[in-house]
Symmetry: C2
Subunit: 356 residues, 2 copies
């Protein structure tokens, strides 16, 4: 397959590397920034790094446009202008509906890989970045079957799992599980900073605050465009959240304890369903282990489980204010949970199972 990549950052570079290494594709790449082009060449992200979009797309069977969301519409238009009549044009933008609506071209098929982008730049590109990652595709009734098939072949060739989804559903989903949590994290740190402003010198807060605000202030160069790019779905999600907060407000103000108990229980059941439904990483059990928080303790624990073949799919350590003691929550798969409990107990650490 002859693959073109427009935009040579972490994602574009990884597409190029994976296409070359795993798919055996011939890759051409372009980036408007000459230094990014040089870095892409140095990283081996393409067989040929080109100076223009037209040159990059010459003879391409598929082009993956990996520009930042703020300029993605223009980059897509340029790619569609330069692409041949049978060239698949796809992208990696994290918001889809507006793009799909603005580019009603049978060659365009929206895409969105759920792949880590913690580091940035083509220097951090890896040929295994997409391994087993979900890669959303947003076909429309106008999407040509041959191009959809080619997109599947390309994406599975990169190591990812294509999942077809309606662009509007995709955006509503992302508004709920990604964009709204980012907004709420920002709101929480803002309020906490305000509380701090009162001049109280305060000790370490609990894990609920740390967890809930982990993503606060994430990449300010990127997120405003995501909020704006998904404005309609995000506004709906915000309205729904404000409505829910209003209901809680009335229950708290009215002292309606039974309703609050029912709501808390419902949330526990919902989170359990989300976990078991695979949303949070497959069926797992949550073990909580009390540990002295000295170097090596978590290591011994994880190593013991690792040696016994129990994989830890998620982990959260809640230190005490001085970080000398703590509780580590371990999410382990169903099959290994009992073995894990026994092994942890044998190491002398009290272990309980989260019974929410």
């Amino acid at each position: 397959m002859r693959v073109a990549v427009v935009g040579a950052g972490l994602i574009g570079g990884s597409v190029g590397l994976a296409a070359r290494v795993r798919l055996g594709a011939e890759v051409r790449a372009f980036d408007p920034d000459p230094s990014a082009r040089a870095a892409a060449a140095a990283a081996g992200a393409a067989d040929t790094v080109c100076d223009t979009v037209a040159e990059t797309l010459h003879g391409a069977e598929a082009v993956v446009v990996c520009a930042p969301l703020g300029v993605l519409g223009d980059a897509l238009a340029a790619a569609l202008g330069a692409a041949g009549p049978d060239c698949l044009v796809t992208d990696v933008g994290s918001v889809k509906r507006a793009l799909v609506g603005a580019h009603e071209d049978p060659r365009y098929l929206g895409g969105h890989p759920l792949a880590g982008a913690e580091a940035s730049g083509v220097g951090a590109a890896r040929d295994d970045l997409f391994e087993d990652a979900t890669w959303y595709l947003t076909p429309t009734p106008a999407t040509r079957g041959t191009l959809l098939e080619r997109a599947h072949r390309l994406i599975t060739g990169l190591g990812a799992q294509p999942v077809a989804i309606d662009a509007e559903v995709h955006d509503r989903l992302m508004a709920t599980v990604s964009h709204l949590p980012h907004v709420l994290a920002n709101v929480l740190v803002g309020q906490a900073a305000g509380a701090l402003g009162e001049g109280d010198s305060l000790p370490a807060s609990g894990p609920s605050f740390r967890d809930t605000t982990r993503v606060a202030g994430a990449n300010p160069a990127l997120w405003p465009d995501i909020y704006l790019g998904n404005a309609e779905a995000l506004l709906a999600a915000l309205d729904e959240a404000v409505e829910a907060l209003g209901r809680v407000r009335a229950q708290v103000a009215g002292g309606r304890r039974a309703e609050l108990v029912a709501w808390q229980e419902e949330a526990a059941a919902q989170r359990r369903d989300l976990v078991e439904g695979g949303w949070l990483g497959g069926p797992v059990r949550e073990l909580r282990v009390a540990v002295p928080n000295r170097p090596g303790v978590i290591a011994e624990l994880a190593l013991t489980l690792g040696r016994a073949g129990v994989n830890i799919s998620d982990m959260a350590l809640s230190p005490s204010p001085d970080a000398r003691n703590g509780v580590v929550a371990l999410w382990v798969n169903e099959a290994g949970a009992e073995r894990a409990r026994r092994l942890i107990g044998e190491q002398g650490h009290p272990v309980t199972e989260e019974a929410r």
Copy 2:
């Protein structure tokens, strides 16, 4: 010191154990539940387990009331009724203003240890549960100096660090950094469950959702009473959150990108300040390491750092949907960060520093 404990669960049992073991106190304990009394005796949480509050408080210099928030007011009143004229009466309730207002007795001094309560019951009690934990005390102008001094001696004797705070400030603080995050986590899982209800089968969501909803549905038997016990401060925090969401809404609806960029940058700075100010566990640096998510990898990493004397104060692993790859965020202290980067690099894992 002769110490009485009313309520023999995890906290009360740990107070009893720590008072006996660390402080050399003579401890009497009571619980309204006969089976909890038997368990307290079996756990060694008291020298004498008594059948009445009066008997428990006989000759006590200090009583720590460890009843659940819903019945704490009544339990405090009973303890004050049975306590001698020079007996310190304190408690461990996580909401303080209403209790302090309702018990204007010079012998009563409100308390709130920030100690882990993931497990429950006296069987999980430990004599080191409070080691170096912050233990809030809420003295008033009416608080007798000798009793405050005795409370300090008791609490430091249990291993904790007493911190004086105004009851109202305490409750506002907890509303912001603990109660509101719990409410928002519930709201988020509710919305996600609603999205699921549309019949879409969806793959694993991102770490922002997992982190933000970690505390959703926490202990339904406990949390409604916390919400209601801190109603005034929680309502104010809810109103502030709704107001902030309204501002974001207007910025998103109006396409006001510059304001959103400024807000995102402000949140990044605020979270940095909270981290550096010690709220989130002292001055630390956040390293992000790309790892294959197989058993033992995190163990090797943690063990390597542990051997080099670098302590990991917090850790969050974000697996890919199939849990075969992931990024682990490690929070390490300032002093060890450079060493950690070097050691992780030597293990062959790409490492970047979170530059938010």
